[in-house]
Point group: C2
Chain length 195, copies 2
DNA sequence: CCTACCGATCGGTAGG
DNA sequence: CCTACCGATCGGTAGG
């Protein structure tokens, strides 16, 4: 009888995501990880090349997820406003479906070392540029005010990428509610339309 | 002749802020710090009780600065909209005037240990509550839409507290520009008023 | 502010 | 996947 009840490698990755999120990458030791997994520290190295390899895997997998989600939306023929709403929804989905991993992605990438680090940064810039193009085309078409797109995209990312700080998966708020709040705030603001 | 050309303790604090920001608290060793300061590692302990004492000092000093800035505004008799603008300006000022320290404040507080940690959290909650009260009174008076104040304040904090990630002190953007962008985005949104 | 040093812990390897 | 272990580095102290 096959005893592949679970994939140890995957288990290690998931526990690492959780520990890196909770305690930070630098403050998490391979011994902490081994203990949570339930094996001896040295045994981790049968499944994992190094501590940093764990971090790399998290960071680049999440980068892929963000890209894949965005590409599908960029292809569509939509107004800038609709495209932006859908892109926000897609981005927030990736976050909510990968809370541990995205938190590590946002916080711990600076601990990547040389070749990975610059690759990571360039992926991030590329993604931001693609996202920003939605805002820029909205400005061009007159749908949006003539805002500073470089600053606006930073503010939008800030709202989306800080969700992990306050979102409670067991709370009443659903993904739809969060997306609506961000879209409403970013696109229309909080001021009463009667004023 | 007095040789107090500078305060060593203050110098240590400032370099610690910078290192904690750049490399993170856990990944910064007292030896790194000593090297930057230009003394032997053991000599740090003539000026500093422990590594964590350095972190505590940063976190609680910044908490104080945020509180002081906000109290002055809460006292004033202003519309919710004006009060909110001024509070945003005050909060952003603290950040821009303390970029290293506020970055550490936002990122590294989780490395505080037991009694400090809960004190820190309760200060944060208290500050958020005070800030949120501005939005709540704006909703009550009809100045603002009937938004979810708990979510709105998280989105507003996200925009303000992520500034350190992209702000370049040597760039063209002035504090006034950043505040305007945040106020405009949060209060009015990016959508063209003609639509 | 320094020399000398402590016990603890780190990421990782050898060899089975 | 384990036992046994490596050299490096950690925060911090004693004593001057």
């Amino acid at each position: 009888m096959p005893e592949v009840l679970f994939d140890r490698k995957e288990q290690i990755n998931e526990i690492a995501q959780n520990l890196f999120r909770t305690n930070g990458y630098a403050a998490t030791s391979m011994r902490d990880l081994a203990k949570e997994v339930g094996i001896e520290p040295a045994s981790l190295y049968s499944h994992v090349k190094s501590k940093e390899a764990l971090l790399q895997k998290i960071c680049f997998r999440i980068a892929d997820e963000f890209f894949d989600a965005l590409q599908k939306i960029l292809k569509k023929e939509l107004s800038a406003q609709e495209k932006l709403s859908k892109a926000i929804n897609a981005h927030v989905s990736v976050i909510l479906n990968n809370l541990d991993a995205t938190t590590v992605f946002f916080h711990e990438w600076k601990h990547l070392s040389k070749p990975s680090l610059s690759e990571f940064k360039s992926l991030r810039n590329k993604y931001e540029k693609q996202f920003r193009s939605i805002i820029e085309s909205g400005i061009e078409s007159g749908e949006f005010d003539d805002v500073d797109a470089h600053v606006s995209i930073k503010l939008l990312f800030a709202m989306m990428n800080s969700i992990y700080e306050w979102y409670n998966p067991k709370g009443k708020l659903k993904q739809k509610d969060i997306v609506e709040n961000i879209v409403e705030t970013f696109i229309y603001g909080v001021v009463s339309s009667e004023n």
